[in-house]
């Protein structure tokens, strides 16, 4: 081994603490990057495979009763490669021992034994025998949540009649990779399942022989989606189509796409933060070493080592640290990625979802860390390269200190000499001090970033389920219910108060933009289902005009006072021009609201209701629920508390893992920055400190000089970190903003406190480690040699 490389190794051993801290920061960034990229690749590959092998459709449309005679017309649409028509009905299940309602979506399977599109993958058991009645294939998550296995029986309330279905298989579908009930934000495995049943059974039960109510198209090329949607809408309009939509509006596909987008976001954000911090740490560490080795560099140059060799020597030092960090990060990233993919398997159901290492990401990781560390240390190494050897032979002139502004403002003698040294050390190199503060504040910011999502979720829950919706039960009706049905429901024993809503599918247009939106007619003086603005104040339902939620308004580019065109996609299909009267805040979905009476007038109908919100005597919820379930017109019933609990559980499970990672990572940054800063102060000051010890200062007094600086940095860094954390959280909420849900930028006070405490703990730990070195200062050694 060349002696210069041996020097490098020994320097590295000498620097091990700092090198480890920096390497860890790099590893954390690389691990997050590799994890996200591998998870992305695995998920995307699994999705692509499932979609193509099981023929996931490109365009979907739900209709009323449509005659099979129209099918040839669908096949003739240009660019359409395959058409599948079927029957789809949502029904309530009667699951023993389950007080909360469960909804099953029944989907027909033709006699051939397999659908033409959106095909079913049988995970366990077998496919339906189309010739037998009463058989069902159940989606895996639902079966698992209830412990159903092939051979079990389940009772469904189909068109008002209780029917016993025999489970023959457990299945997956590209259409329901994740099963989210329309109107929900998160999947609820226990309360929503997909049931595939034979076409004959469904035709018989719903009297739909020779007809379908759901069509799916697969396109030959993906580029004619918009045109196809238009044509399909035109063809199916007479049969009550509620508007065709594309994969972009298909729930399962949307969730997968959102997940992929988030992984991408994480793959960008994490390395940006971590490698930024690492570059900064490398910079201060290498600058320090180069200053320290000034005379060694001069000697090497005097003996003919070239500038290139000197530069390479220091870059190698940087690169060894970087490469070790990168390799560790990649390995950890693989492990985390593997467990992340494993966690996905519980959520997203594919026939096979395997961890796929993303070697391209690995190459990018090496490239990124190399660039970050070379850029971070470029100027420091350049100063070594450019160091004039003759000058470096001369001892460095003592740094010039000045009484700082703070000292001049305070009366003399208020500051002890130790404190004065601290103040002067900081003020002499303001840039370096600000970088240290910035580094520590990044740790605070990352902590906030890691924890705020839970605050935001809690706030969403509070806003949605406590402030806005105050019902206990919500009911939807299969067909719009007449006043008499509602009267019955409202007078059930135990119902304390009730409100009804009328909702219709529409397409809302503004200029050249449009969205498929359910418009809800709400009661003007609602007490249970309230609409709120961003400041949590109830919004009065105006007599005229339409109210949009802020997300929809943003998507359409609409402001209050603008006129929008509302095409109703039901029944008589009126087209209305309405003024946007108010905006309401909601964190999920895209919705529009209007006065219920106006909606009835516009639809030329009597006072029917699509659903109702009920306030129920807490002791009678179960009986009311059971009573409702028995009624034929009731499509679904949901208990708010149950929905909230399952939501909280899902969120908690997902966020907890993420949070613990992030707390560890923030700790890594905090320790990395604080330990490095402290260690460097120690090495810069060791002569001064030893001298102070020699002339009689105590260990404690000497420590003040060293640790006072760190303490000052940390104190300054905390508020700055709050600010940066807030800004980053804002960026994340913007990045996670999807049609399905938005994350409000809400950070609880506890999160700020926790972030500060973790960083203070990291500071105390690092300070303690470094402080022990003060007592070990080699008094004689330090005084004997220069530097």
């Amino acid at each position: 081994m060349l002696k210069l490389d041996r020097k490098l190794l020994r320097d590295l051993v000498h620097l091990r603490g700092q090198a480890a801290a920096i390497g860890l920061v790099i590893a954390a960034g690389v691990a997050t990057f590799v994890m996200s990229m591998c998870a992305y690749k695995s998920l995307e590959a699994a999705r692509a495979r499932f979609y193509s092998e099981y023929l996931f459709a490109d365009v979907f449309s739900s209709t009323g009763r449509s005659p099979n005679a129209i099918i040839p017309r669908l096949k003739e649409i240009t660019g359409v490669a395959a058409v599948d028509t079927r029957l789809v009905y949502d029904v309530l299940l009667d699951v023993p021992g389950m007080s909360e309602p469960a909804t099953a979506r029944l989907i027909s399977i033709p006699d051939s034994g397999q659908s033409r599109l959106n095909q079913v993958y049988i995970a366990r058991g077998r496919m339906l025998d189309p010739l037998r009645t009463g058989e069902v294939v159940v989606s895996e998550v639902f079966a698992d949540a209830h412990g159903f296995v092939p051979g079990d029986h389940v009772r469904a309330i189909i068109n008002g009649k209780i029917q016993e279905l025999s489970i023959v298989g457990i299945a997956l579908s590209p259409e329901y990779v994740i099963q989210v009930q329309p109107g929900s934000i998160l999947p609820d495995d226990k309360r929503f399942g997909i049931f595939w049943v034979s076409e004959n059974d469904l035709e018989a039960a719903f009297d739909m022989a020779g007809a379908f109510n759901s069509a799916s198209l697969r396109l030959a090329y993906g580029n004619q989606v918009e045109e196809t949607v238009e044509v399909l809408d035109r063809l199916l309009k007479p049969f009550g189509s509620v508007g065709a939509y594309t994969r972009d509006e298909q729930i399962s596909h949307q969730y997968l796409s959102d997940e992929l987008t988030q992984l991408r976001g994480m793959a960008v954000l994490a390395p940006a933060i971590f490698l930024g911090v690492a570059a900064f740490l490398l910079n201060i560490a290498i600058s320090r070493i180069i200053t320290q080795q000034r005379e060694q560099i001069a000697a090497l140059k005097a003996f003919g080592y070239s500038n290139f060799e000197i530069g390479a020597h220091y870059f190698n030092l940087v690169l060894v640290i970087t490469m070790i960090g990168t390799v560790v990060g990649i390995l950890v990233g693989f492990v985390l990625g593997d467990s992340m993919v494993g966690a996905y398997a519980a959520f997203y159901k594919f026939p096979s979802l395997d961890f796929t290492p993303d070697w391209f990401a690995v190459a990018i990781a090496f490239l990124m860390t190399t660039v970050a560390s070379v850029v971070g240390t470029f100027f420091a190494v350049r100063s070594a390269v450019l160091l004039p050897p003759a000058e470096a032979m001369r001892p460095e002139p003592p740094p010039s200190y000045q009484p700082s502004l703070i000292e001049r403002l305070l009366p003399r003698k208020t500051l002890s000499p130790e404190v004065r040294m601290v103040v002067r050390n900081i003020t002499r190199r303001p840039v370096k001090a600000s970088f240290s503060v910035l580094g520590i504040s990044m740790a605070v910011a990352v902590m906030i970033l890691g924890n705020f999502s839970l605050d935001a979720m809690n706030y969403m829950m509070y806003f949605q389920f406590r402030l806005a919706q105050r019902q206990d039960l919500s009911v939807t009706f299969v067909e719009p219910a007449t006043e008499s049905v509602m009267y019955e429901v409202q007078n059930l024993d135990g119902v304390l108060a009730s409100e009804t809503i009328r909702s219709v599918p529409t397409r809302i247009r503004f200029q050249n933009r449009s969205r498929r939106v359910g418009v809800m007619g709400v009661e003007p003086d609602a007490k249970l289902f309230r609409l709120l603005d961003a400041d949590e104040n109830p919004v009065r339902v105006p007599d005229f005009g339409i109210m949009l939620n802020t997300k929809l308004a943003k998507l359409l580019g609409v402001r209050i006072g603008d006129l929008v065109i509302v095409e109703v996609l039901e029944d008589k299909r009126p087209t209305l021009t309405m003024k946007v009267a108010a905006l309401v805040e909601e964190y999920s979905g895209i919705n529009a609201y209007m006065n219920k009476n106006r909606l009835h007038e516009a639809l030329l109908e009597s006072k029917v209701a699509s659903g109702a919100f009920l306030k129920v005597d807490p002791n009678r919820i179960d009986t009311v629920f059971a009573e409702l379930e028995r009624r034929p017109g009731v499509g679904s019933v949901s208990i708010k508390d149950a929905a909230m609990k399952s939501f909280e559980k899902t969120v908690a499970e997902n966020l907890m893992v993420m949070r613990s990672f992030i707390i560890v990572f923030a700790g890594v940054i905090a320790i990395g920055v604080v330990y490095n800063t402290a260690r460097i102060s120690l090495s810069e000051r060791s002569r001064d400190l030893a001298t102070m010890r020699v002339v009689g200062f105590t260990n404690g007094e000497v420590s003040i000089v060293l640790l006072g600086e760190i303490a000052a940095f940390t104190i300054a860094a905390i508020p700055l970190g709050w600010l940066i954390g807030y800004v980053l959280a804002g960026a994340v909420t913007a990045g996670l903003d999807t049609d399905n849900y938005r994350i409000p930028l809400v950070i609880a006070r506890g999160t700020f406190v926790l972030a500060s405490l973790v960083v203070i703990a990291a500071t105390v730990m690092s300070a303690w480690v470094v402080q022990r070195r003060v007592t070990e200062l080699d008094l004689i050694g330090v005084l004997k040699t220069r530097e």
């Binding site: 002696k3 020994r10 000697a299 140059k301 005097a302 003919g304 080592y305 032979m393 004997k784």
Partner: protein
């Protein structure tokens, strides 16, 4: 001994060096004309700040003059760029510094090998340590050596590359009399046995007795040049 028969190793012509320190100009060298010949032992004397180190650094290619010329054999060092100066130092010059400038993370032997690895015709590191009497300390780190021992390692390092010229800036500055003598003896021995052209800066006039020639600098100029008729051994020096 006549310098006419010997090759001229260094020749300087009207060498000046001016440092600009803000408003103030420091004229470290103001027109130095000097010749050093093959295997000569020269001592540079002069008050602090008289320009000795500046001159030595320029001769060694560590620094460039403000004006004037320096020739090493036939090469004009003043016309050389940074790469050529590096090459020159690498192939021809051995330095001994007042503060040793050893690499603390390498042992005595490794410090020497660090240099011999890039030298043209080096001698063995252990032999070099033998010359300075530190063979048995080969595996000690600088921190485990006394000041004088460190300086001897620094000398071993300079001679191990077997340079044509050996430039020493106050090699005994930090040492006591006895150690100083040991170090000087080592330098003199190299000069004698290997014929290395040697220039030594010192504040100690008595060291001058060892030299072939004594050049006194004063205020950036050569004040006097004396030939030494009878060279004395280091051990016989009167301090």
């Amino acid at each position: 001994m006549s310098s006419a028969t010997k090759t001229t190793v260094f020749r300087t012509v009207d060498l000046t060096k001016t440092y600009q320190m803000g408003e103030v100009e420091v004229r470290a060298l103001r027109g130095v004309n000097l010749e050093l010949v093959e295997s000569e032992f020269v001592v540079l004397l002069g008050a602090s700040g008289s320009g000795k180190s500046t001159l030595l650094n320029i001769l060694g290619g560590l620094d460039t003059p403000t004006s004037g010329q320096v020739f090493y054999l036939d090469t004009d060092l003043t016309a050389s760029d940074d790469r050529e100066l590096t090459r020159y130092r690498r192939d021809h010059v051995g330095f001994v510094f007042q503060f040793y400038n050893l690499i603390p993370s390498l042992t005595a032997r490794e410090n020497i090998e660090l240099i011999t690895e890039i030298a043209v015709s080096p001698i063995d590191a252990m032999d070099a340590l033998e010359i300075v009497g530190l063979r048995e300390r080969a595996n000690h780190f600088p921190a485990q050596l006394s000041g004088g021992e460190q300086q001897r390692v620094a000398i071993a390092r300079a001679i191990a590359k077997n340079p044509q010229v050996l430039l020493c800036d106050e090699p005994t500055g930090a040492l006591d009399v006895h150690t100083g003598i040991v170090v000087l003896e080592a330098i003199a021995r190299i000069n004698r046995e290997l014929g290395t052209t040697t220039a030594v800066i010192t504040h100690n006039a008595s060291i001058a007795q060892m030299a072939d020639r004594v050049i006194a600098l004063s205020d950036g100029q050569i004040a006097s040049v004396e030939m030494n008729v009878s060279k004395v051994n280091a051990s016989e020096l009167q301090w």
